[in-house]
């Protein structure tokens, strides 16, 4: 019997590029799980999150980080947060289930999104070419998260630090999304 083990592929084949002081690279090896709050169960979920990760359940539009820094919870919509954590396996939901029990409804999103990290001096100017949101630190500080549309593609934006952004777009249009961000960086650097 030949070895039929399936080989995983990342959406952007490990893309990484430097444009002067600006870096654009694919982020892989992350688990991403949607956690939905059962109706009437917000306190129970909040308690479970607090005891498992030592952080609060974030409101829509912001994020919190577990006290060991290993997990970030992002408030995507009312009653739904995404948990993002370093994870290389195939069953990210199991990891969340182990921590939070049956206090939430979990859906694996690890394979649904292409993740790009854009950082450096030109990051904000580059994003201004495609992102309708105001990313100024006064209104979009570190840890802010938002879902919006860029070049007709739905994108989740998370600010990390002063000039770093995690961008997540649908896996199926990953190549187009990379092209859009790359072109934006080229146009401003």
């Amino acid at each position: 019997m030949p070895d039929m083990t399936l080989k995983p592929k990342t959406p952007l084949n490990g893309y990484s590029e430097t444009f002067g002081a600006t870096v654009l690279e694919e982020i892989a090896g992350m688990g991403l799980v949607s956690i939905a709050t059962p109706r009437g169960g917000v306190d129970a979920l909040q308690g479970a999150v607090q005891s498992a990760y030592g952080c609060a359940l974030p409101p829509t539009g912001s994020s919190t980080i577990g006290n060991d820094g290993a997990i970030r919870l992002m408030g995507l919509q009312p009653g739904q947060v995404f948990a993002l954590f370093a994870y290389d396996g195939d069953t990210a939901v199991t990891e969340i289930e182990k921590a939070l029990g049956d206090n939430g409804y979990y859906t694996d999103q690890s394979d649904s999104w292409a993740m790009l990290h854009l950082s450096g001096s030109a990051a904000i100017d580059a994003l201004a070419r495609i992102c309708p949101l105001d990313l100024d630190a006064s209104v979009f500080p570190d840890g802010t998260v938002a879902r919006t549309v860029m070049e007709h593609m739905g994108v989740i934006v998370l600010r990390e630090g002063t000039d770093g952004f995690l961008l997540m777009a649908a896996r199926s249009s990953a190549a187009n999304f990379l092209h859009a961000v790359e072109q934006s960086v080229r146009n401003v650097t």
Binding site: P59, T60, G61, Q77, P78, P132, R147, T148, V149, G154
Partner: protein, 102 residues
């Protein structure tokens, strides 16, 4: 246009999908004796207001909330934005409350 989302602040209308009259929340009782007439009215008879209009917008490229936006159709002036979910829950708790003022 800019819609001032109750949770997220101002967002470009390009992120939203427009549906129409917020009376779509008032779905009739399927078991009412006159259900056929009520559903007909619900589905087809809408006000086409020149002025203040409560309408449904869906934040499709955002937080996936359905919103009830009160907009003046003559000026695009937006005076109120509510989460449709909240309005629907309030209506369920008190069926006489349609969310409309006055």
């Amino acid at each position: 246009m800019i819609i001032n989302h109750p949770l997220l602040g101002p967002r470009d209308a390009a992120e939203f999908y427009y549906l129409g009259d917020a009376s779509l929340l008032d779905r009739p009782d399927w078991q009412a004796p006159d259900a056929a007439d009520k559903f007909y009215e619900y589905q087809y008879l809408r006000d086409n207001a020149a002025g203040e209009h409560r309408e449904l917008w869906y934040h499709e490229q955002g937080d996936r909330s359905w919103l009830i936006v009160t907009r003046d159709t003559l000026t695009h002036d937006i005076t109120k934005v509510e989460l449709a979910h909240d309005v629907a829950l309030a209506k369920q708790a008190d069926p006489a409350n349609t969310g409309r003022e006055g």
